[in-house]
Symmetry: C2
């Protein structure tokens, strides 16, 4: 590992040992129809089947278990989240007996809000701006003397998300590239760390939705378009300099394809990865990238408000 990395492959393997008894090894799914369409073999890691409905369970559980080990006196945690990290932290906190408070913007899908409450966490709404989310979260952290657990800019979170890559490369050793939806960069940093350690030649492709500023995409899981201070140097070093931008219309089209043809319920953020692999930009890329992995990061969509209705 390079000295510039601040999490190592060994951190990811430690996380895997800690969280494996409680999280699913999610299946890899394929579609021969899609493979024909794009002229490559595409492997989807279906984290939509993960505990709490997204990959975030991995990082949150690793963070909470590490926290309790380091600070046995801790009584609760707080976070702000677009929904999935909130559910995951609520679930993980509940498992280890910590109180949990989650700050969400008031436009967060109802299904995600209800799930957070169902795991026993306190839900606090804020204005739909990133700044307000942070402000309220910091206030609660101070008032209640509970640590803030970032959804991505945290080494334990990154190491937890990196376990996806360990499983994925065990399930499909021949992967040439992995497409990762990016918001804060926790998953991308973790996956890049693990994947480059296991298979140095692998490519990682970041993915950002259009428009280039945040909070205006149906992909509610990746509305925050800003890499974290801790994730940025890792991603800068380890991830390929290839960024896909996908439009909302392409996300909806990809989401419908996965519902109709693959029979999987996924959220728009997962569909962003599918849209990337179906894009013209992907079509123009090196044909040597024969086996492409895509992370279906979550399935927490409000089925009463699907984007094509």
């Amino acid at each position: 590992m390079s000295n510039n990395n601040v999490i190592t492959f060994s951190d990811v393997l430690d996380a895997k040992e800690k969280i494996s008894p409680y999280v699913h090894e999610c299946p890899v799914v394929t579609s021969s129809t899609l493979d024909k369409m794009v002229g490559r073999k595409v492997f989807f890691k279906a984290e939509s089947f993960q505990k709490t409905g997204s990959f975030k369970a991995r990082g949150a559980l690793n963070a909470v278990l590490s926290l309790v080990a380091k600070s046995p006196e801790v009584h609760g945690v707080v976070t702000h989240s677009s929904g999935n990290h909130g559910q995951a932290l609520a679930w993980a906190s509940n498992m280890v007996g910590l109180d949990c408070t989650v700050v969400v913007t008031n436009n967060t899908p109802k299904s995600k809000c209800e799930a957070i409450k169902a795991y026993g966490a306190d839900l606090v709404f804020c204005e739909p701006t990133y700044a307000d989310r942070i402000k309220i979260c910091n206030k609660i952290s101070e008032e209640r003397s509970i640590p803030y657990i970032s959804s991505s800019d945290d080494y334990d979170i990154m190491a937890g998300q990196g376990t996806i890559a360990v499983e994925f490369l065990n399930q499909v050793p021949d992967l040439d590239a992995v497409i990762v939806p990016v918001s804060g960069g926790g998953m991308a940093a973790g996956i890049a760390t693990a994947a480059k350690a296991i298979k140095p030649a692998i490519k990682g492709e970041r993915l950002w939705p259009n428009p280039p500023r945040f909070l205006d995409s149906i992909a509610d899981g990746i509305r925050v378009q800003q890499l974290g201070e801790l994730t940025w140097p890792i991603i800068l070093e380890l991830v390929e300099k290839e960024v896909f931008s996908v439009k909302d219309a392409d996300i909806v089209k990809a989401m419908k394809f996965v519902f109709e043809r693959m029979k999987l319920v996924i959220e728009p953020t997962s569909a962003a990865g599918v849209a990337a692999v179906m894009s013209e930009r992907m079509a123009s890329m090196d044909p040597g990238l024969k086996n492409v992995g895509v992370i279906l990061c979550g399935g927490n969509v409000d089925i009463n408000h699907l984007p094509w209705y």
Copy 2:
């Protein structure tokens, strides 16, 4: 095997050998939330991931392969179908180079009709009555000199569907009962034949939706509420005398549960099995039925017209 049975376990094993290279061994999925709700362990055989989106691919392929072996001069086949058998027969015929004509009622979901055409079959619409479907199908069979392949009342079809049970009991050897959606009875007859041979103590539970006459349920795959002449004696002997009737409202509720919590796209007919396992009737049954299997028979729902919109 009893002498009353007109397909044997050996027919099912022969079918398995023939079709296995071309069909999926579909995964078994579980939900800890549902297990807690119903107080049993429930195992779902996700035939929604099968080729053509339903278990019907198994029987159709076995029927077509057997037909070509017996009658090499055959040039085409015809069937009537509520949609899934039509897709399956179109797909299987296309694979072996036969023409295929499918008669469907004019209220068949658009997604199923489009899929039938996409596999290269001719689609013929009829009035939404069972009688008209048969009449038109017979007429085409005579005019074009092509055999009619029943969706269920056919020994090769039954043997093909029976392969589900061979796989399921291999995946979950401890199953105490299997709940099977029934319409014509092809799947129930095949599964009962195989399951009783592998595990004589296993219970099979039939499932019919309310209301008791046909063509008035959202479960379009099981609108025809009449067992076939060939399936009836097999089911009478091998299947438990336990029939669940489920209401459309329960089907919709079960379908939403599977979309929201299990992240699977299923069609209403699959949800009928889920509704049965969630029903009060099931709750009142022998607690010794600890491990209950449910066949998620298909995933071919028109996602532009989901029943809760």
